[in-house]
Symmetry: C2
Subunit: 563 residues, 2 copies
């Protein structure tokens, strides 16, 4: 959507996949976004610098990212076969640069940032300026004597980031980042809600917490929450387990139908192949899904669901796998999700075709090697922190911050002398906002079927001044108003083309400036202009046009813009 509206409105023009020209209107928006970002970075003592695009490949080899980021790096070669990486990020440059100047604990902390073009060879560039191959970014890097000082600064940056989005007219949610199999809690993402988002996040409106669904934690319903049946189960006594014939399909639904029970009374066992470790069965309550990212994090290894062939070869019967009555020859270990602890007399497959076991109870009838949280949290869960209702929303990641620790400073032996004249490591944080991506995000979050609705703070101009009907008097009045508004510091886009009202209004809605002012013979008869705000009124309906007396226009516009 951002690509279509920004292109049709004349903000950007595609050069190649993931590579865009910023046209005058688009560059004005980008400039305003940049200035908001600058201002917030300056407030946290960031000093602006400007680092090069061309990085010697040597320094990328030194940190190992020449290899680990191989797929997305653009490279080039200069005179004397010198090799360069086109910077997708600047840790490799900023760390030795800062090392040149910072020798003592007295020089710390220090934060530097730049607004610079980045290059990433994204296999599939898409979504307009949301995911480009050449894109703008503000990247800040901070350097600290201690981890505690990094922590404190990191917390200040969280606020600075939230301020940036708010000043761009966006509501942001800060979430702990997923970051794949080996992520830890040293990184946060800032998400903006929009149906165009690639991410799904879970928001608790009660405590304000937001999580990426990929790693979210939350409270699922316990048996006693499932009505009469559930309450009864919570009080039930364990019964002796018993094999029963079970001519059914392999799904949980088939089990429910056969046994006439809800899904939560069935034990689901999913078998994974863990890299180097063989087969593992994850046991979870039948109504819940497994979050495989959590399984990877648990094992700290790559996993994949075991294939039917592999199950067969291992002596397992698909659809009837369970931790009870496991044939001795099968090599498999079981790990339980916490959810299986509180169901009494659960039903499981018997590791034999068309046989289930009912009244199975953990501890008595089977054990697992460990318990962990493997649950895929959904919007139907409650907040893990406060118990509030969660809601699932689509979101765009519009920035992220990382505690890098000493990863990059170690790579270039960047240490400082401390108070005791000893060399100590330097702790580092980095803080990124894609500024061109942010422009796209604003459009995704702020538009209607007719076009963009720019927040005042980032609109390319405040006012769209339009004349209609090629009336000489109207043009004269509009010329004068243009002068007066400009004089008053108002940014005016003046459409004095001879096109029809229909064409001009359509363009105006598309471009989406906060305020449209029309001057025509008709408005002049009332000695006024037509005033229409682009943003919907408080009740969500389109704002209505109204007349404002000529003599009041400048004053009213100044008031509107400052509001």
């Amino acid at each position: 959507m951002n690509a279509r509206l920004l292109t049709q409105g004349g903000f950007i023009e595609k050069q190649a996949a993931g590579i865009y020209n910023f046209l005058p209107l688009g560059l004005r928006v980008l400039g305003k976004v940049n200035n908001i970002i600058r201002d917030e970075m300056n407030k946290v003592e960031g000093q602006e610098i400007f680092m090069p695009v061309l990085h010697s490949r040597e320094i990328w080899k030194a940190t190992g990212r020449d290899q680990s980021m191989d797929g997305v790096l653009y490279r080039t070669r200069g005179t004397d076969d010198q090799e360069f990486v086109l910077g997708p990020s600047h840790e490799e440059v900023v760390t030795p640069l800062v090392k040149t100047f910072i020798k003592s604990y007295k020089d710390l902390p220090l934060a530097v940032y730049q607004i610079q073009t980045k290059f990433r060879n994204e296999p599939r560039a898409k979504s307009g300026v949301l995911r480009g191959r050449e894109f703008g970014m503000k990247d800040m890097y901070s350097f600290h004597l201690t981890e505690e000082d990094l922590d404190a600064y990191y917390d200040r940056c969280k606020i600075a980031y939230t301020n940036v989005y708010e000043r761009c007219g966006l509501k942001s949610y800060m979430i702990e980042a997923s970051g794949g199999a080996f992520s830890d809690k040293f990184s946060h993402e800032f998400s903006i809600l929009t149906p165009a988002g690639e991410d799904t996040i879970l928001i608790c409106d009660k405590c304000g917490a937001a999580q990426n669904i990929e790693i979210a934690q939350g409270k699922y319903a316990e048996p006693e929450d499932f009505g009469e049946d559930g309450k009864a189960n919570a009080k039930e006594k364990p019964l002796p387990m018993k094999e029963v014939e079970a001519k059914r399909g392999p799904s949980i639904e088939a089990g429910c139908e056969l046994h006439g029970c809800p899904a939560w009374k069935i034990l689901k066992t999913v078998v994974y192949e863990v890299e180097d470790d063989g087969l593992v069965g994850i046991c979870i309550r039948g109504d819940l899904q497994i979050n495989e990212l959590k399984v990877e994090k648990y094992f700290k290894k790559q996993i994949r669901p075991a294939s039917p062939e592999m199950l067969k070869k291992a002596g397992l019967v698909q659809g009837f796998i369970g931790p009870v009555n496991m044939p001795a020859k099968v090599k498999i270990s079981f790990i339980g999700d916490h959810s299986i602890k509180n169901v009494t007399n659960i039903i499981t497959g018997a590791n034999a075709k068309d046989v289930d076991i009912i009244n199975v109870n953990i501890g008595t009838d089977y054990t697992v090697e460990d318990f962990a949280d493997f649950v895929q949290v959904r919007g139907s869960f409650k907040c893990g922190k406060c118990g509030g209702a969660l809601r699932e929303e689509k979101a765009i990641e519009a920035g992220n911050i990382f505690k890098l620790g000493t990863k990059f400073t170690d790579a270039v032996s960047f240490t400082v002398t401390n108070k005791d004249q000893k060399q100590v490591p330097v702790f580092m944080g980095c803080y990124g906002i894609g500024n061109t991506r942010l422009v796209g995000t604003i459009v995704e979050a702020c538009h209607d079927e007719n076009g963009i609705i720019w927040p005042k703070s980032v609109a390319p101009y405040h006012v769209h001044l339009i004349t209609l009907g090629n009336d000489e008097e109207a043009t004269k009045k509009a010329d004068k108003l243009y002068e007066e508004l400009t004089e008053a510091g108002i940014e005016v886009l003046y459409d004095d083309r001879t096109d029809s009202a229909g064409v001009k209004f359509k363009d105006s809605d598309l471009i989406g400036l906060p305020l449209r002012i029309v001057i025509s013979k008709r408005t002049l008869e009332r000695d006024s202009v037509e005033w229409k705000e682009r943003a919907p009124s408080t009740d969500g309906k389109p704002s209505e046009a109204k007349n404002v007396a000529f003599k009041d226009v400048v004053k009213e516009v100044v008031k509107f813009v400052k509001d």
Copy 2:
């Protein structure tokens, strides 16, 4: 010099040869330079845009520059083997981009510009930020319905460019560009005088004209200007020519000594090998030098001086070559410089070892196929336009403008409909200023042995506020003054380090802010500050420090900065 001062002063830091980081101070200077450039481009209706670094190689092939600029292009390759050129210039991108939007004569003229990083694989990057591999540039492109409109706009841009340099504190000279063998008069360079310049230019202080020495025209002295001897020659009657023995070396000096005459009375003939055309002898007055670029332009072909072997092979005797008595078997044509017309009874070699011919007169004794201007103009010449005195100066090229005509618009079939609904070609101009190079140029032009002397308009800060002696009262007063100056819109760099006065003053001179204000116990005794301007006073001597009463400081600083 710029590299040393900018690096020592903490403005830039080298990343690799020709690739620099801009540090906080340097980026502030660059920002001010950019804003001056922007303002002047906006005044000639330039609209700012931002085009990408990555250009599809296809569009570079279409204009032929993929090949013609091969040596300086950085290239990279993306997914699907898509090839890119890292833009060294943006004609290939801007022309199709503008073509997308401009369809009718009504849409013209149009000028767009950007401030963007450029990439050129310079074989020998040198001179700090004067000649980089990755460097900043403002490039503007204008589009016109007619050549006349381009001409008029081009003239406006000359003024805009002159304004840019003047506002950066520099005196610029506009010169017709050389541009190698096939240049024409469709391009101008803007030069700034400094001993560090790579170019030599000739300035006429009388009429203001400036020329690059490589293609300069000017008036050399005629015989009657050479005292009694010269006046006599101008009135002399032609005498019969006569061979004389001439046991001498091959130089003009040797001829002067032998014949006891000034150099202008000797005919100098230099033989060149013209690509595909064989040998050509250029005849010129003995006291003048040949400008080989003019010879190339005359023939519109590559030339090189004939080697001794080649001369011998052709039957010519080095040091005794001349247009008279040429052996019939020798294939050579002679072209005369205009300077040989007005010398009577000139002396030339006789095309035989140790033989000269005296009393040679053109028309009577020999002819040339054509006359042209081949003279290498020097500072000793007079201005070709007004006859004023020329002076030779070293200069840096700090910008250039070109009339491109339809070269690039033809390459992408960019035409518009004219008033008669016919498709007509679009005329194009381009206008470049290297903004990072301009920062280096300012330093080359504005420094002394102690450091940089920033013009007020581009200084990173206006005031260097310095406390001395770690005096508590001084620090308190300085803190307050910092607040007050900042409040008044003055940009202050505040040095409250505990270092000695020597260290702090040395740094202050090096960084080169326009005004230094010192507060110490000693100045406080007089209830004043020490005020010292970095620029020399009007007599060229270093400005002297003076005391300014505390109560007047803010007012005086505001006055100083606005001046």
